[in-house]
Symmetry: D4
Subunit: 236 residues, 8 copies
């Protein structure tokens, strides 16, 4: 039972601060991941080390970690695959799964959407999926996305990452029978409202069967794709 935290040690990680879910991979096909923001470097390091030391399986992933968190986590558990996923942020993957089948192209409407797309690709890589990022194919120049029509038609899942008005999700979903997981991004200005516009637009898509994850949530889109592919392999 905790007493109030003693003064002067705000960052000190204490035993009762984490309740790790070692068997989430077995239960849900997705191992517990560590979300960086709001955690101290010590808490990040302890969570990563704890998950690696447990009897669970699957990749151990630390998302949106800042420099101090990365440093602490790598000190506690060296050897992660590291991907920059935003200004001053990185996503780290330990114990990546071996390569497996599955075509999950990650499309972006603009270059500014790349950090979110890279987060998705890094998480997919953690689950053994080598996913091409098809960047900067927004609908202002339709020929750009149409040039990737074959990629869309042969995909198992399509992840669409777009800010501004998010129209790429609707257009892409009209060109493929694959599941489309749309990720709105906070890219854009004017009336983009930090991704709210793209979020609402994707939820209102005139192309049926688009499903949506939260703003800038490349991690979540990758997890949805892993669920879809996992189900598929179990069934095949």
């Amino acid at each position: 039972m905790p007493e109030p935290t003693p003064s002067g040690e705000p960052g000190a990680q204490r035993p009762d601060e984490l309740t790790l879910d070692h068997h989430r991979q077995a239960r849900t096909g997705l191992a517990e991941a560590v979300y960086g923001p709001g955690k101290s470097p010590e808490q990040c390091a302890a969570a990563v080390a704890g998950l690696l030391a447990g009897d669970g399986e699957g990749p151990v992933i630390l998302t949106r970690a800042d420099d101090d968190q990365v440093k602490a986590a790598l000190a506690a558990a060296p050897g992660a695959q590291t991907t920059p996923t935003g200004p001053g942020l990185q996503t780290l993957v330990w114990r990546a799964a071996p390569p497996r089948e599955g075509a999950v192209p990650v499309l972006t409407a603009g270059t500014g959407d790349l950090p979110v797309a890279r987060e998705a690709a890094a998480v997919l890589a953690g689950y053994g999926l080598d996913s091409p990022v098809v960047a900067d194919v927004g609908v202002a120049g339709l020929h750009r996305v149409l040039a990737h029509r074959e990629t869309l038609e042969t995909a198992d899942v399509v992840v669409v990452v777009a800010g501004m008005e998010g129209a790429l999700a609707s257009v892409a979903a009209g060109l493929t029978s694959a599941p489309v997981v749309a990720v709105p991004t906070s890219t854009g200005y004017g009336a983009s409202f930090e991704g709210v516009t793209a979020l609402l637009a994707m939820l209102s898509s005139c192309s049926p069967g688009v499903s949506v994850v939260g703003i800038d949530n490349g991690f979540g889109a990758a997890c949805a794709a892993v669920r879809i592919l996992g189900a598929r392999q179990g069934a095949a």
Copy 2:
């Protein structure tokens, strides 16, 4: 100076309720129009009759009038061109301008956007412009709008009317050098929020040079087109 309205006569139109702007056509190229909602049938009729009797010029337009307003207005001033523009609503035009040059196609993403498109077309007709409505060419099936590529390329102004995620505005603007005036509509559900989603999406279009009017405001889009074409004719 009005005394408080006497009881029992809520609908009676009184002299001080209207301040007509007879010379707005001369000043802005657009005559004053009468917006139905919130006005009594008597007020609608008085405004229409007053504008027709004044020394102004240009069409006299009554928008979004319900059945009682239409009846009162036609009793006071017969002979209007009448267009249904929504459930139980009509737009009436008196003293339409003679036909003039100008290609202003009105595109809709879906069939549900037609009432707003028809309001735009009726107002354009009032200013002498015979505008084709190209209906139901939303981006879920890109071939539909691509089939009208020549219409877009030869247009003087393009009006795009769309609800849901409003992506048609971005796609159309990528296919033409004409000015694109986008009208979000309240069509759609899920997260369309009565047109707010389409409004924000159009304002955030990745295709530069799209400008936007209010939700369901077919009248306003037509007025913007008239301004554009008027400027053009004055200059030519």
Copy 3:
């Protein structure tokens, strides 16, 4: 090229009001569907009849149709499967696909979520999927959803339909490795804001890999499930 609609015939369906997308099934695995609201009964009937008469394939679906629309559509094309999906609304399916494999349980948090769940089940049935609706298993009594744990573990896709705080999506996703498609509903009061609360909650789920469709959009959830299962069968 349309002239302004002649007065007095607001409901008359005219040739240029629909641009049917007959090959959408071939392109996206999902045939074009007809969304009732905002269309006249004549437009609904014409769209349904046109899709049935075309050279396309797949089910023809009319969603959220009111009594007049249902009547007109059935007059033009008898023999639909009819499902009530809300107060005064029905979803109709013509040319349903033959039964196929695929376990897509549809969970609801409360009884009030049933109309949306039924829309999802009716559309899934149109694509040949016989989906059990597991009703009224909200998280206030956890034993209710835990009683269906096996259904969750063996599902190919799980559709979760919930209003209020939408917590069932997070809980269900923690109990299965299947893809979870969440549908927020407008059920609830207090601070439910017509489904916005459930929508935001589902998008913010602490269970990774939940993806979300628009409020009350049972149709969209079914389409996402069809995409997932279609991809899977093509791959297997």
Copy 4:
């Protein structure tokens, strides 16, 4: 009567800037507390010192104080219990009440919710209640909260601190007959909107009898718990 503040002395605390409420403890069972943000260090110090010097009773609490405010307050009044409650923020308690009976477990959904939980625990400690923080038991892994079922069943009040979709409040309230005070936190991304999503979700809980305080308001939740326990002791 104040003249406009002379230039050059923005931080100088002046006599008329505070109206201390010395007898609030007697009136409401809760002593006046000092909310740091927006106050100068001098104002914080003066308020703390003034409350300690007055004839009131009960703990003197300074919440959300930054380093300068903490330094000034401790210089004016040494000997506070200090708890870190966020990045660069601390909560200080002087004149804590003697220990008393009462089980008020503070649950958090994630590790990122700990600062808010600690603020609640520190304030509860100021009123003599030694409250266990049960951290990181979010609903993505239900077994985590179910492991604390006995704590919930024997609690006098349960405080639930959660960000993201805030579902832990609903689940916990389904497992106990104790009053549940829910604190939404600004933890999360995607569509968490700085705690608004959790706030709305908790207000819409399908588990009846959950009541809610403001976002990140650990202080307020503790005060609600003190009121509940105080009423109880007075009655017993």
Copy 5:
């Protein structure tokens, strides 16, 4: 496993539509209640009858039922206590608990808040608590609430029901040490936004220890009070 609902029987209640939680009273101190809106009369009746027939205990409550729902429920289970709680809405209580100790005054700011207050009082009565409604004591005339100061000081729980700016919650909480459960109502205009303003104001109260339930949620406030009193009796 349900087949799609057969056409023509939208209201027919089917066996799989309800999952009753008979032991919720034992688990949470609050029996499962039936929320009327969105349910068919048949579903309401079946839920009420099912709960009464089960082996659970505690009152059976049907909230916000319209005339058809009331009629169906009373036909299935006569003898309920009936309270009007809004235009065309009633709350019904079967198997009310025997009278018990506990002072829970329900204050309203205005006469328009009475239906919500009555819902709270009816539910409290269902749990054996005879709660006075103190109506129309808003802060525009402070003497009105000050006249009830003794009621506040001797209360076990105070329920404050207010629309508009909801200031009564802050004022009342400054006059009592009892727990204050605030219920924002949708009463008011101008910028009340159907209760959102009162909701936000109550959550932002400067009087610490106010906790809040959803808009117009008199039921929820009563449940919170029952939890508080139940805990208290268990402890005393």
Copy 6:
């Protein structure tokens, strides 16, 4: 102490439903008024009759009353001055004050704003002020408001009633040194959002010294003007 309302008598007014504030006129210069919406006809009648029978002074005003409320109130207290203030709504004034000095012109931007302006004028008349309504002088034709420049320059208070973008408040305040009380109205469409746009615009006016009341709150604007004039007369 009230028992739960007996069934079958939803509209019956009971003694404890009103707490009249007879001396509000003496305290605040404004007598208590009765706001119709949400009250039963019986409650309206009782409140009006109670205020007239009390020892208070000043006008007795019933605002936004529907036909049943008007009928009940006039039956209980004949002889009111009646003003239509919206579709099916009226404002009634009993015991109007004798005429007094004070120029309070009420400007409207459009004809649709008249019901709100009339509510303001009726309430001003109740306090003895005969206020001219200057209708339909919106800024699209600036000459209309400039024609009333002298009225503005000699006013004691100016009330500006406007919907849509509410620009008339800014323009009027640039033409007068009188206090400007702005009333946003729910008139308009497109992006007017039921008056929210006008409300925000008036609060953001570039003309300093504009103060604002709630949407459609003509009553509140009149009260603010009465306070201003009352202060002035007391001082003169």
Copy 7:
């Protein structure tokens, strides 16, 4: 006619950047003021110097100026009265009006509201009004504001500055017949939303005749008070 600004001189003030309104004092009773944010130091200095050099009258006021702006303005025009009005912000007054009659107390709910109250007091001082700031009299302890009842009863205008739930405006308006100008502040947390909650609450006040200015707009409240008093003196 400007050419695009030459590179390298972002801050250089150019002749065409300001259009001073020298006669605004004569027209509106309020001289043009310079709003600091968004202007370069050079623009601030030029505006102040230009207004002082013109043939206008009345005080010259620079609001919300940061340190660089203050320095530049004082270099261009020494001798201003300087008041700190927020973190790193000051309000400067040149050419203050001579003292005049008028009681305008400025109440604040908390100490954190003081910077906004001081902005109001500084602007009032610029117009010759010596206004007492009555700080920290929020409604959690009613005796605090009741202790100033005489100040309220004898005021010509009352300015109420409050954040959080803003209830002080309603309470104060119930205690005085003077006009009440309410200023919501961005003070508070939880669900204060940077002042939106207080803004909405003040607009929805149950005390009639409260009018409201924008969030943190102490300047605007002072201007409204000056208009009220100016009208009054002209009339007296």
Copy 8:
């Protein structure tokens, strides 16, 4: 096909990050522009250099570039016209078009709107249009905009840049028959909400024919003007 980005090289521009649209000028009359925010300096430089090296035509524009982006872009492609367009931001133009006919005055309501106006003017200059900026003519002093009436009457397009309540757009549109493109800015406080208020107000303008672009989107307004003038020259 990209592998996950190697660690340690967050800024390195890779070949697959850009999909340039070299022929957008031919297709839409507007060359592809590079939006700075969210791109690395290397990405900005590569995009600019790529567009200049391609076979496209028209100006190459980099908007809202910070110092590092400007430095990198100028190192890769010297010789741009540089315009400061906000704090620490610049807009760069390479390969500006030769001067052409067209009067596009850019009005601002205040000095704080100048950065956005300058972005518009810089982009217009890139397309050969020398556009006067008419600064600081907000409606609080109507004479200021009326002094430019001839500029408005002879304009081909009018761009109105305004924050706060954005009323200048309505007033200007009432004085000209030219198309009015309105740009809301994030200037203002109180209830400006970072430009949302001006955006909504402009969309709700009572002057018909105003069309609107996103908040602070001077670039978009210039593009809309170029479309309008291009259409016009093609037609003349």
